[in-house]
Symmetry: C2
Amino acid sequence: MTSADPAPKRTAGTVRVVGSGLLGASIGLGLRAQGVDVVLDDVSPAARDLAVDYGAGRAAAKGDDPRLIVVCVPPDVTAQVVERELRSYPEALVTDVASVKVAPLRELERRGADVSRYIGSHPMAGRERGGPLSARADLFIGRPWVVAGHDGISYRAAAALEDLILDLGATPVEMTPESHDAGVAVVSHTPQVVASLMAARLRDAPDASLGLAGQGVRDVTRIAASDPGLWVQILGANASTVVEVLRDLRTDLDRVIDALEAPTEPGALRAIAESIGAGNAGVARLPGKHGQSKTFRQVVVLVDDTPGQLGLLLTEMGEIGVNLEDLRLEHSPGAQFGLAEVSVVPEHEERLIEELVRRGWNVAAADH
Amino acid sequence: MTSADPAPKRTAGTVRVVGSGLLGASIGLGLRAQGVDVVLDDVSPAARDLAVDYGAGRAAAKGDDPRLIVVCVPPDVTAQVVERELRSYPEALVTDVASVKVAPLRELERRGADVSRYIGSHPMAGRERGGPLSARADLFIGRPWVVAGHDGISYRAAAALEDLILDLGATPVEMTPESHDAGVAVVSHTPQVVASLMAARLRDAPDASLGLAGQGVRDVTRIAASDPGLWVQILGANASTVVEVLRDLRTDLDRVIDALEAPTEPGALRAIAESIGAGNAGVARLPGKHGQSKTFRQVVVLVDDTPGQLGLLLTEMGEIGVNLEDLRLEHSPGAQFGLAEVSVVPEHEERLIEELVRRGWNVAAADH
C-alpha cells in the first residue's frame, strides 16, 4: 500500500529501551519489525509488560548485555536516568529522545557522567501525547531525527545511533545541542506558547463570537489542546532560549498595541503594516512539502459531506493527472457539505479547474 | 455533484453592487445565477468591465433604479461610499460588507447620513484576498453572514438584506455592530496579529531551525501570509476592540516570560501550566463541524503521495461506512508518501482501524 519499504537492518546487538510510553514502545516495535533484539524497562512494571504484550520487545532481565540504550522518559528525569544507565552498563552507548538537548547534557556533565558514551537525540515524530497504546512501528518513517553530538563524543556512539535511526526509517539530522534547542524554541516551543495564549482569549468569549470562528482561528489554536504537564517540562528545560524569542515577540506586540491605541498618530499604520509584512516574510521561509519552498495554488471544490464524495474527487484528480500537494477540508456550519481546498502546482491550476468543471464539480473559489 | 441546491429567488427589483473585487463580483455572479437584475459600478471602469465580462451583472447607467445597494469597497472608504449611495438613490436601501461594523455606522451618523436606510453586514466568506478573477457564484453558500442592525433601522431594510443573503445561499446571523466587532476581534483580528507576530520570528531563524518545522508551526502561521494593506485597514477600523484583547494577551505573555526567566522560583511552573491549561479550555470552546462541539478521534494512515491513493483510502472509508469528520495531510520531508490524519466519531475508531488494517493499509498511529 505504500512505497515506504524499510531499509535493511543495520543495528547490531541488543537495544535496551528505558521507558515504554509512545516513543519507547514505538522504537521497540520498529526495531522488532527489523528483527533487532529489544529489551524493555520502565519504572512501572505494568507499563513495561503492556509494551511487551504489544510486541515492542522482551522484559529486561539480569544478564542483558545491550550495546545501545535509548532513554525515553520525561524531560525532567532524562539526565538522571541516562546517568544511571551509563553507570549500570559501562560498555553501552546511551542516547535519549527528550525534546530539549542542552539541559540534559549540562546536567550529565555536572554529575560527572561519562558523556563520551552519551549522545543526545530527538525524533521529530509528531504527537507529543499518547501512551504505549498509540505506539506504532512506523511512527518515525520519513521524519527528521536530530542527532545532537558534542565535543566529547566517541565516533562509535554516533555511528550506532545513526544505524538505529535509519533502521526506524527516519532521517538523521546532525545539529549541536545549542542549535537544536534554538531551532525547537522557534519552530515548536514558541508556537505552542503563542497558540495557548491566543486560545485562552476564547475561554470567556460569548458564544455568538465563537460562532463567527473560521478556519484561521482554528489553525492558529489547534496545538493549544496539548498537555500542560508535558509542556511545563519542555518549556522549563528550554526556558532561557524560549524566553529570548518571547521577549522579541513582546517587543513587536507592544509596537502593535501602541499603534492600535493611537491609530491616527503618525507612523501607527506603518507599524501595523510592518508587523503583518514581517509575518509574510517569516511564513514564506517555511520549507514546503519534500523540503521544497514552493508556492502552490489553491482550488476550492464544493463536496458532499461524505468520504465517498471526497474520494471520488481525489480519484478524478488522479485521472486528470494532477498531483495533490496538500488538502484541507472546511466544513460549512449547518450545511451537509464542505469545501475541499486542494493545493496544486501553478502550472496545473487552470487545467484542473477546467477538467473539474467539465466533470460537473462545483469549483467554489480559486484562492490567489 | 452537491446537495447545495440554491433556495428560490427572493430578492425583488434591481441590486446595485458598488466595488467589483472578490466580494462584489461574487455577489453579482451569485445573484445573476438566481436571475436577479444586477448593475455593477466601480471607481475603476476597467475593473467594472472585467466583472461584467465575467457575467457578474451589467454596467451601471443613468436611470438605474436599484432597490438595494451593496457597497463592497475597502473598509477605509466604506462610510464615504455608503453616504454617497444613500444620497444618490434616496429610495434605495444600502448595505456594506466591510469586516468591521461600528466604525462605518458611527462615521455615517457623524456625517448626518440617513441611516434608517442603511444596515451594515459582513459575510464570513473565507479568503480576505483575491480580485474579480477569484470570484465565484457560490462563495457564500453555507457561510454565516452577519446582519448588524441598529436602533434606527427600518424593518424594510433588514428584510431586503435577509432576502439577498438567502438568495446567495448564506445563513443570516443577527448581531449588534458592537457584538460583531467584539466577535471578529477575538476570532479573526487577534488570531491574525498573533500569527503574524509568530511568523515574524521565523524571518531571521537559521535554515537548520526551519528544517525542524512540523505541522504545528505551519498551522499557527498559515494566515500570516495575508495582505498587509488590507489588515492595516481592518485593524485600524477595529483598533479599540482589538487592543483590549491584545492587552489581555500581553498580560498572560508577561506572566509566561516572568516564569521562564526564573523557572525554579516558586509558582513559575504553575504559571506555565495555567497558561497552557487556559489554552486547552479556550480551544475546546470552538464549535466543531456543523456547529457541534464534539471531540473526534484521529486515525493516521500512511499513503503514497498520489491523489489516487488518498482517493482510494476515502472511497474505502465510504465502503466501511465510516463518516469522515475532518482530514489533514502531513508530508514527510524527503519521502514520497504522506500521512493522512482522518477524524472520526469515537464510536467508529476501532472498527475503522480494524477494517483498514485488514485491507492492507498502514495505520501509522492513532492519536489519543
